[in-house]
């Protein structure tokens, strides 16, 4: 584990008096895999939305590579290296698999409107580069043959993979996965665990995942942050967390 890539400091947010998150602190090291668990309504997705700039925190800050990124909006966060997937799959269903990935490369291409109409050399160069990169990514997820199919034609497991491929296409430093194993069977889940480990190894990025599937979380994560009622009640290795009486009380026992 290297130095901290992302620091969450005293993060808190209230919605009309409801304290959804309170004084949340944790760090994500460069290329670490961190799990985020907690009972329903503990504030996991709210935390994701704060990290990706959907919400502006009431207190505290999110710091990526030494720069405060909280409160600057979704666009800013993506461009500065945080990509995410969604709990309920959100693909561009009527676009091709390839175009789904290429949408996320938007900010890496620079040709302007006029160039796109007269199709300059830069247009072709950038489009071909994007095609190549996108196909490479699809290859990693075994989706290369499906590149020209509409995304809606993929199976459930493939759709989850495409979402991850799309998130990676933006070249993030940190990838947030919101319940990636939701709705998957055991084989698919095991496959996913391998994929997650592989992504970290291949792309050298950090991963933060929300997951209810305990074997998956315990198996793949190096550290686990446990949320309950908007507060961090435990933060440690899988073994430490498993043995923590507060976690057992709030989560496993309750």
């Amino acid at each position: 584990m290297g130095q901290a890539l992302l620091k969450v400091e005293h993060l808190g947010i209230s919605f009309k008096g409801l304290r959804a998150l309170d004084d949340v602190n944790f760090e994500i090291p460069t290329s670490g895999i961190i799990g985020l668990i907690g009972p329903n309504g503990a504030g996991k997705t709210t935390l994701f939305n704060l990290l990706t700039g959907v919400y502006t925190p009431t207190d505290g800050a999110v710091i990526l590579d030494g720069e405060v990124i909280s409160g600057k909006g979704m666009g800013y966060t993506v461009l500065h290296g945080i990509s995410r997937t969604f709990q309920n799959i959100r693909l561009f269903r009527d676009m091709t698999v390839l175009d789904n990935v290429k949408v996320a490369m938007h900010h890496k291409m620079h040709y302007n409107l006029l160039e796109s109409l007269i199709k300059t050399r830069r247009y072709w160069a950038e489009e071909e580069q994007a095609d190549r990169e996108a196909l490479e990514l699809l290859e990693v997820f075994g989706l290369r043959e499906k590149a020209d199919m509409p995304a809606s034609g993929l199976s459930y497991g493939q759709q989850r993979k495409l979402e991850i491929a799309r998130a990676l296409a933006a070249s993030p430093k940190l990838l947030l996965l919101d319940e990636p194993a939701a709705g998957m069977n055991n084989t698919e889940t095991r496959d996913l665990m391998e994929t997650i480990a592989f992504i970290r190894q291949k792309f050298g990025i950090a991963i933060l995942l929300i997951e209810h599937d305990m074997p998956l979380v315990m198996g793949v994560c190096e550290r686990i942050v446990v949320l309950d009622y908007g507060r961090v009640i435990a933060n440690g290795t899988p073994d430490e967390v498993r043995a923590d009486p507060r976690v057992i009380g709030a989560y496993l026992g309750g």
Binding site: V78, L79, F86, R93, M95, V103, S116, L117, K119, W124
Partner: protein, 327 residues
Amino acid sequence: MDKAKMLQISHRRNLLALAAVFAVLYVLMLTRSISVQYQGVIILIGINVLLATSLNLTTGALGELVLGHAGFMSIGAYTAALFTLHMDLPGLVEFPLALLLGGALAAVFGVIIGIPALRLRGDYLAIVTLGFGEIIRVIIQNMSITGGGRGLYGIEEYTTFPWVFWTSAFGITIMYALIFTRHGRAILSLRENEIAAEAAGIPATRYKVLAFAVSSFFAGVAGGLYAHYITVLDPGTFGFNMSIEILVMVVLGGMGSFTGATLAAVVLTLLPELLRSMSDYRMLLYSIALVLMMILRPQGLLGKKEFSLTRAWEQLRKKAETKGGNA
């Protein structure tokens, strides 16, 4: 496998096909094989094609229901007409200028309408655009420079078949070409899933406004063509009904398909004319045709697909080859 070269060939083919269609129609017109009445219909088809494809950019590609497209058209029509009425330039200079000016002013209004589109979604935005269309009509009706309710007379008849044909072809080409770029993908992704698009780094604001601006620009140009064809402008023409007629073309062609919108605009402009001999039953049959169409093919004539001359050509050739093999 060289994509650029393949596309160049297909572009050349498309241009050739366009030129061929133009030449055939033009010769038929010059030799009076097409009656004067149908020459007018063909010009209206050209205008409607541009209207339908431009609406397809916002309603089909961006996915925002716009119920006031006739409003943008009327801005272009009045701007262009007033320009040629008050300028004393040769027609070949002032007509294109008038079209550009009409388009530009319509685009300005498109941006103004596009801004609430950032906050409003679906039904709410549809109602805003509907209100916009009506407000524009009422304003034009009550301004003295536009001739008010009496209308605007004495507009030069500049709009000829070549003008309509090539202006529309140019407009469609631009909008169609836009779709296959990063800008076009951004617009489509906003239709498909706005939250995911923003999470993928698409600046939603910029692309919604862009789609509205381009769409209303070409609606304005179509308005300018219309004004200089019909020569008399009556604000009543650009009411809600006309917006709906354009929308029907987009829906019938298949939301998001530019070639579909083109095809539907041709069919729906021609149909009432072909049914003219049925006199009273004409509009009834037209409506029945629409209802049947929506029952039998709810996704529209072409769905979300685009017609490609190259693809059609390949398929024809394959068919011919298999037939040849059998014989």
